[in-house]
């Protein structure tokens, strides 16, 4: 019973969303605002049960690790964000959590730059590897802004544009695919779970 009611509600909300295709209307607006509320309302109990209880409450109050009172208080400082006078206090927890960017510096360099560089230095022994090499170098030089694109250099960097356009084309094709997949998913729901036309 609840299952059926659920499916009908879901179908109704799906149609509300689709009604935006005709034009912006109260049904769509209702669904949109409902979505915002439900998503946030969903977040609170989850965080409470799965994060606050095991990580903050239990160690401090049940295991009595009293040193954790300090981060507990720092966490509370987030609340000051909404006071116009003391909003600067909330910078302390933000700053504390920002400390981790330090790790991002070498790790990003390592994973996103150096590892990629290593793979770029493969021996040029096949046509594809040569193409990848030329493409990557020419794109890097295209985004090198300290020299004007003129003469042979300009010609070389314009190769980069061709490579990029093919790459963007691939993304474009895939993006089209993604959007259509989402629609297919919704239609599968409407036809299958709701109307029972597909089995």
């Amino acid at each position: 019973m609840t299952e059926t009611i659920g499916i009908w509600i879901a179908a109704f909300l799906t149609l509300c969303m689709f009604s935006f295709l005709y034009k912006d209307n109260p049904f769509y607006k209702f669904a949109e605002h409902l979505f915002v509320g439900v998503s946030m309302g969903y977040y609170i109990p989850y965080t409470y049960y799965n994060a606050f209880i095991p990580y903050a409450y239990e160690p401090l109050f049940l295991k009595k690790e009293y040193i954790l009172i300090i981060p507990f208080i720092i966490g509370f400082l987030y609340w000051f964000r909404f006071s116009s006078k003391y909003s600067w206090v909330s910078r302390y927890p933000i700053a504390f959590s920002m400390g981790m960017v330090g790790m991002g510096v070498p790790m990003n360099m390592h994973a996103n730059v150096l590892v990629q560089m290593r793979t770029m230095m493969l021996p040029l022994n096949s046509i594809n590897i040569i193409l990848i090499f030329v493409g990557t170098i020419s794109i890097l030089l295209y985004f090198f802004f300290s020299k004007a694109h003129k003469g042979v250099y300009g010609k070389f960097t314009s190769i980069g544009v061709w490579f990029m356009m093919v790459g963007f084309g691939a993304s474009f094709g895939y993006t089209v695919m993604a959007r259509i997949s989402l629609l297919i998913g919704r239609i599968q729901f409407l036809l299958g779970d709701w109307l029972g036309l597909i089995k």
Binding site: F35, W88, N112, F163
Partner: protein, 207 residues
């Protein structure tokens, strides 16, 4: 006090984290353990920011009777009801809370972006133009990939999936690597600027 100390905290913790990456010593892993433990306590409090600003925006709308304020009531009611259900009946499988997720969150979220399929179809017809040679190359590559990823491409000739694979593995790879290297440097630069206190917009506020 208002700005300098938070910046110092970021700098000191940040430098210690840089050191942590390079130093495989027990001291360094103890530092990480300490930070994690504290961060796990601080982390959950951050949710307050999101909830508060949402409530604040909609409460204000209702108070000022701004246009479409009625919908703000919908948002706030949904927020309160969902939260209450979660706290009263719990959040495990089979509770009303999960029922709300399945029948409200899922259809609303999934449908929102499926609208884009319609927009893409109409844009394909009305706006995707081969305005320049570059745009033409882009469109041709896109068409090949679109055909190559579905069975019809395979049915026409096995060359289409093969060329698709080649496009993805060679020119696409080169393009994405060139761009990713730039992005990688950009991310490193942003992290550096935050750590060194050059970039401070995340702190918010004016003073």
């Amino acid at each position: 006090m208002k700005r300098q100390i938070p910046l110092m905290i970021v700098l000191i913790l940040g430098l210690l984290f840089v050191a942590h990456v390079f130093i495989p010593n027990k001291l360094s892993s103890d530092y990480l353990d300490w930070f994690m433990k504290w961060m796990k306590v601080i982390g959950p409090f951050a949710i307050v920011l999101g909830v508060f600003s949402l409530v604040y925006v909609h409460y204000n709308k209702i108070k000022r009777k701004a246009p479409t304020w009625g919908y703000s009531i919908v948002t706030l009611t949904a927020l309160v009801v969902t939260t209450a259900v979660g706290f009263i009946w719990g959040i495990q499988e089979g509770t009303p809370y999960m029922w709300i997720f399945k029948n409200f969150n899922v259809p609303l979220g999934a449908t929102m972006f499926s609208l884009l399929a319609f927009y893409i179809a109409s844009a394909a017809y009305k706006a995707f133009r081969a305005r320049s040679i570059e745009a033409t190359v882009l469109l041709v590559a896109a068409i090949i990939v679109m055909l190559g990823r579905v069975s019809i491409g395979q049915a026409i000739t096995h060359w289409i999936p093969d060329i698709t694979e080649w496009i993805l593995n060679v020119p696409n790879l080169a393009a994405k690597r060139g761009i990713a290297l730039g992005v990688g440097l950009g991310m490193t630069a942003t992290s550096l600027k935050i750590m060194l206190g050059i970039e401070r917009s995340y702190l918010g506020g004016k003073d």
